[in-house]
């Protein structure tokens, strides 16, 4: 964060090197395997429950945080949540289908944003920030999804005494303990200890160059992550808003007719699902188009770039 950006910033010259397809697969598989293993270990760690307050480790966040900090955040973040699904949920027969999909997206977004925040894995404050961001994004989204589930699952949740408050209370408590235990104790602190030690040692084993603070993950990629996050949050909010408006409009007009009952509700579910898909596909297309454009630009300008760089004299190598 301390390095000042040059005013004439050309994206092509400041990018970290592109990964080959094999290297992408390596980063993906490594992150998947390690986080899968970490999740199996999590299953062993004992839980202390005081009523609804559960003092347990929901996951060992430091493992994927170290991965996204050291390697390309995109592929590491894509791999880690898959590891959880494959190793724990699938092999243990605890797979929850569509629920896993939302878990995957939440974890991916959290990790990806966390990884893009890190410029230099040797700097501990950045790792702290990355770990806390990861867990916050993941748990915040999952709380929103849980609340949304109650809203969809229970008719007129607003008018059922005590239910919304109690769900909010339980989610709030869960979020706080998760942030403290998974985010800080098993996320930020071990990551701050491990990442600087692994930096420069683990990358050569995969045939990769260590992450260079002078060539951070480009802003374009960070912008996409922020955009995607905003899109998903907004779509969740709009979904909940859609349900509430439907509930408010229909309150008092209660007819348990077959068609009436489904018509409205089904419409809103369809509309919000379509909205989410639309926003996600717009984000994905933008991202793919941009990265493709940059790649071609980089390939085309590789020679000129090298020629430009030599007289500049900023590179000590």
């Amino acid at each position: 964060m301390s390095t000042s950006t040059p005013p004439s910033r050309n994206l092509g010259t400041r990018r970290p090197p592109e990964l080959s397809s094999g290297q992408k697969l390596m980063v993906f598989v490594l992150s998947m395997t390690l986080f899968g293993l970490a999740n199996i270990v999590t299953e062993v760690l004992p839980e202390i429950s005081i009523g609804p307050v559960e003092l347990s480790v929901s996951y060992l966040a430091f493992v994927p945080v170290v991965m996204v900090a050291l390697f390309n955040p995109l592929y590491a973040a894509l791999g880690a949540p898959l590891g959880e699904i494959v190793f724990v949920d699938l092999l243990m027969g605890d797979f929850s289908g569509i629920g896993e999909l939302e878990g995957y997206l939440q974890m991916f977004l959290g990790l990806y944003i966390g990884g893009c925040l890190v410029r230099d894995p040797r700097r501990r404050p950045q790792l702290l920030l990355a770990a806390l961001t990861t867990v916050t994004v993941d748990k915040m989204l999952s709380a929103v999804v849980d609340i949304g589930k109650v809203w969809v699952g229970v008719d007129d949740a607003e008018y059922v005494e005590g239910l919304p408050q109690s769900i909010l209370l339980l989610e709030g408590i869960g979020f706080t303990t998760d942030l403290l235990i998974s985010g800080l104790l098993f996320g930020a602190l071990p990551a701050m200890a491990l990442a600087p030690r692994l930096y420069g040692r683990i990358e050569p084993l995969l045939g990769l160059a260590p992450r260079d603070p002078r060539h951070p993950v480009p802003l374009a990629q960070r912008g996409t992550a922020a955009f995607a996050l905003l899109a998903i949050v907004l779509s969740f909010v709009s979904m909940i808003a859609a349900f509430t408006s439907e509930i408010v409009d229909n309150f008092g007009v209660w007819e348990p007719g077959f068609v009436d009952e489904y018509g409205q509700r089904f419409l809103w579910i369809g509309v919000s699902a379509a909205l989410i898909v639309l926003v996600a596909s717009v984000a994905a297309t933008r991202f793919v188009l941009r990265s493709r454009r940059e790649r071609t630009a980089q390939d085309a300008g590789a020679d000129t770039e090298a020629a430009e760089k030599a007289p500049e004299g900023s590179d000590p190598r």
Binding site: V29, L60, L91, D155, E161, W254, Y262
Partner: protein
């Protein structure tokens, strides 16, 4: 202290996990085409959210329960599910009472619990029946990214090796560490020691796994893995063994019929939860 360690040892968990993962029981759904099983699951994962009628939900729940029995879901998974669900509902109930809930709240909770339970039962029946290898083929044939289906089958094969290695590293740490002078208040020293050992064990593991990953991936790439997974001919050869038969069609037809029956029953005898 000695006994405590035996019960919660890494070895015990390893064996328990492998037993759950690799023991195939062979039920109704496990003989079906994996794509059809995923489709079947899709029906029961979506339908419960489209109604607020408790009669319909009870019907769907019963159907899924029958499928769980027919799929021969193991007692461990089923037991964990029941305990988790009962505890969760009790907590929400207590919290709702604290904020002044009444019978309406209880009925609303019954509705929500039935929905969540139906979806969970369906996923248990479907995904206990699908071993990861079949699931990975089904995903590939449904045009999931090749990396995902590769990850599924890779994880399936690597799990025993990784567990073994983790166990060895933990044992090494334990052998080299001096015994704790005292357990401390409420055994906090034991907790802290366990936590630091687990974290420290990941340092060598990360390095070892990185080496192993490179070997695997380079061997795969030598044989054109990425290309073969994306190329149509490669896909066709790999997925040639997947065949949906008339029995698969029957499964879907019967399931749809049962869902329709549940809705018909709900139409005749409606019972609503939230608002009287």
């Amino acid at each position: 202290m000695r006994k405590e360690r035996d019960r919660l040892s890494v070895e015990w968990v390893k064996l328990e996990l492998l037993r759950t993962a690799y023991a195939t029981r062979g039920g109704l759904l496990s003989r079906r085409d994996p794509r059809v099983v995923i489709g079947w699951y899709g029906i029961f994962a979506v339908v419960p959210w489209l109604t607020h009628n408790i009669t319909v939900l009870a019907g769907l729940f019963a159907v899924c329960a029958v499928f769980v029995v027919l799929s021969r879901v193991g007692p461990l998974v089923l037991g964990l599910f029941v305990i988790g669900f009962v505890l969760e509902s009790v907590y929400v109930l207590i919290a709702a009472w604290m904020f002044g809930g009444d019978l309406g709240t209880v009925l609303a909770l019954v509705e929500l619990t039935l929905k969540l339970a139906t979806v969970s039962l369906a996923s248990m029946a479907a995904f206990v029946s699908l071993d990861p290898e079949k699931l990975s083929d089904a995903l590939l044939s449904l045009h999931a990214p090749a990396m995902v289906s590769f990850g599924v089958s890779y994880g399936y094969r690597m799990l025993p090796i990784l567990m073994e290695e983790f166990h060895t590293v933990i044992d090494g740490h334990r052998l080299r560490a001096a015994p704790l002078p005292s357990k401390g208040l409420l055994g906090w020293r034991v907790v802290a020691r366990t936590a630091t050992t687990v974290v420290a064990a990941f340092y060598p593991l990360m390095l070892n796994t990185a080496k192993r990953t490179r070997t695997t991936v380079e061997a795969l790439e030598t044989r054109g893995f990425t290309f073969a997974a994306e190329h149509t001919d490669g896909r066709r050869i790999r997925l040639a063994h997947l065949r949906a038969t008339w029995e698969d069609g029957l499964l879907i037809a019967v399931s749809l019929l049962l869902v329709a029956a549940a809705f018909a029953a709900g139409h005749s005898y409606p019972l609503y939860g939230a608002v009287q």
